[in-house]
């Protein structure tokens, strides 16, 4: 969890009531779980009511905490070493007079991990602009190019260095996974960036990139929510941002109360899910399987 719930339990009472109510609804009316033959004329899929309930609850919690944050309530956010390491890596690159490489994954901008990577890119560009070193951003999907260009340009502008922005450093490489990997490896070996920042959605190319970066002696910080690639990053990178931390980055770096509020909401939802999992485990252990069945999605 990004934000640990503090001891002021009464704050959570309204949500616990909502959760209790929702569980009661599911208990009273399990008819939604009955599969229906033909839904093509129906305006609502009753098999997915559990997902709707969860979404309403989750959105409600987040909106509640955002409103609280807007009212000026201070929210604690724990330290994320990987995100602090970005500044350290950029600083080291400056000392060595070597570039910074930012790889935003290989998926398109309609993937939420790429959106998260773009948010981090803006903050990195702002840091790099202050140190006056090149920032290379190789892109795999053409749709990401204008977004990345805009983020880097804005980062340089907000650091007061719009003149230092070099449009040619945001480069479209290729849509093909391994052609892109070869292109990025080429940049790593030729330009020898001192800081390799890999954030976004990665697949089989993750280890190729991280190992090549390791061989060049760069400081590497990686973050992805693709769990199959996490072990590779953990092995080959100095710092790894795992799963949910990637999505917490914008709030962590900006410290904006509204964004911190949404983190708090996510954490409460996680606490509820943990409670449900524990309850489910206990009930299944005692042979009560109906509770577990409510959570199947058809």
């Amino acid at each position: 969890m990004i934000i640990f719930p503090c001891s002021k339990a009464p704050r959570y009472r309204p949500f616990l009531r909502v959760v209790f109510l929702l569980i009661c609804i599911l208990l009273i009316d399990p008819s939604w779980s009955l599969a229906q033959e033909d839904l093509t004329e129906s305006w609502f899929n009753p098999n997915r009511v559990n997902m709707l309930v969860f979404l309403v609850f989750f959105f409600g919690v987040i909106i509640y905490f955002i409103r609280r944050a807007k009212k000026g309530k201070s929210l604690f956010i724990r330290r994320i070493a990987g995100l602090d390491a970005i500044e350290e890596a950029v600083g080291r690159a400056t000392e060595m007079g070597r570039p910074v490489l930012f790889v935003p994954g290989i998926e398109d901008v309609n993937q939420i991990q790429t959106v998260a990577a773009m948010i981090i890119l803006g903050n990195v560009a702002k840091m790099v602009a202050g140190y006056d070193i090149p920032l290379f951003v190789p892109i795999c999907r053409p749709f990401v190019v204008p977004v990345a260009e805009e983020r880097v340009k804005e980062g340089y502008a907000s650091a007061g260095r719009p003149d230092a922005y070099n449009r040619d450093n945001v480069r479209y490489i290729s849509d093909e996974q391994f052609a892109y990997a070869a292109g990025v490896q080429g940049i790593m070996l030729r330009d020898k960036p001192m800081a390799n920042l890999l954030f976004g959605s990665f697949f089989a190319e993750s280890l190729m990139l991280a190992e090549t970066g390791f061989l060049t002696g760069a400081i590497q910080v990686a973050g992805t929510a693709n769990i199959h690639q996490l072990p590779f990053f953990v092995v080959a990178c100095d710092y790894t941002i795992i799963g949910e931390e990637l999505f917490a980055t914008s709030a962590y770096l900006s410290k904006e109360p509204k964004l911190l509020g949404s983190l708090k909401g996510s954490d409460l939802a996680k606490a509820v899910i943990m409670g449900i999992l524990a309850l489910g485990a206990i009930l299944v252990s005692f042979g009560v399987i109906e509770f577990k069945n409510w959570f199947f999605i058809q």
């Binding site: 979404l55 929510a225 990637l246």
Partner: protein, 214 residues
């Protein structure tokens, strides 16, 4: 308005995809399908941006005779060659034009790009070997735990493991299905909630930094 209109568009289309999950009505689904096709068309046009970016950067390198400039000429020549044989020849009705099998485009794809990609993928074996060597060096308690567990899993998944101890395969399965899977699912749940939370922030316009132009 420069920011409000994109946020409004993002909200409308984002919500429509959420609704699609809950509304099975045939008529409504056909509307969502149309929206999906719009998205594909818009993404297809983005390739023009990609090609423009690629040509601009590589043309500058060639023009200024910067490092590795001859390779940039090969890159641009290859790009135009594939566009010509794949699209122009097809439109003009020249023999072997087009992008399917039995065309020049197809031949280059299957005899140049495909083996090159396979070669790159094959290199992964060597990267895994070097990464595994570092990962299994016993320096800390956690690294020791990792190395010992990995050793058990590896032994349990080869025939010699079963001959050493009949319970090895089952023990390996337990490691994979209980502690390993529990950790993996915990990360998955956290990441999924983080993704939903980010999506909500993007949909509601709370997170708008990705739009740029602040």
């Amino acid at each position: 308005m420069r920011r409000e209109i994109p946020i409004a568009i993002c909200f409308l289309f984002g919500i429509s995809f959420i609704l699609e999950y809950f509304i099975p009505h045939e008529g409504v689904l056909s509307i969502f399908e149309t929206i999906r096709q719009w998205a594909i068309i818009v993404i297809a046009f983005a390739y023009v941006l990609g090609i423009a970016n690629l040509l601009r950067i590589n043309y500058h390198v060639v023009q200024r005779k910067q490092r590795d400039w001859p390779y940039k000429i090969i890159l641009m020549a290859s790009l135009f060659f594939m566009i010509t044989v794949g699209i122009v020849f097809d439109i003009l009705g020249v023999g072997l034009g087009g992008i399917g099998e039995g065309t020049i485009f197809g031949w280059v794809y299957y005899h140049a790009q495909y083996p090159l990609q396979s070669t790159m993928f094959a290199l992964l074996a060597f990267f895994i070997a070097s990464a595994a060597f570092r990962a299994f060096r016993i320096r800390t308690f956690q690294a020791s735990l990792l190395a010992v567990t990995a050793l058990f899993v590896m032994i349990g998944r080869v025939p010699v493991g079963e001959s050493l101890w009949a319970g090895f395969p089952d023990f390996t399965e337990w490691i994979m299905n209980v502690p390993q899977l529990a950790g993996k699912r915990a990360i998955m749940i956290g990441a999924a909630l983080g993704a939903i939370s980010t999506a909500l922030k993007v949909l509601t316009g709370l997170e708008r930094t990705y739009l740029g132009g602040e």
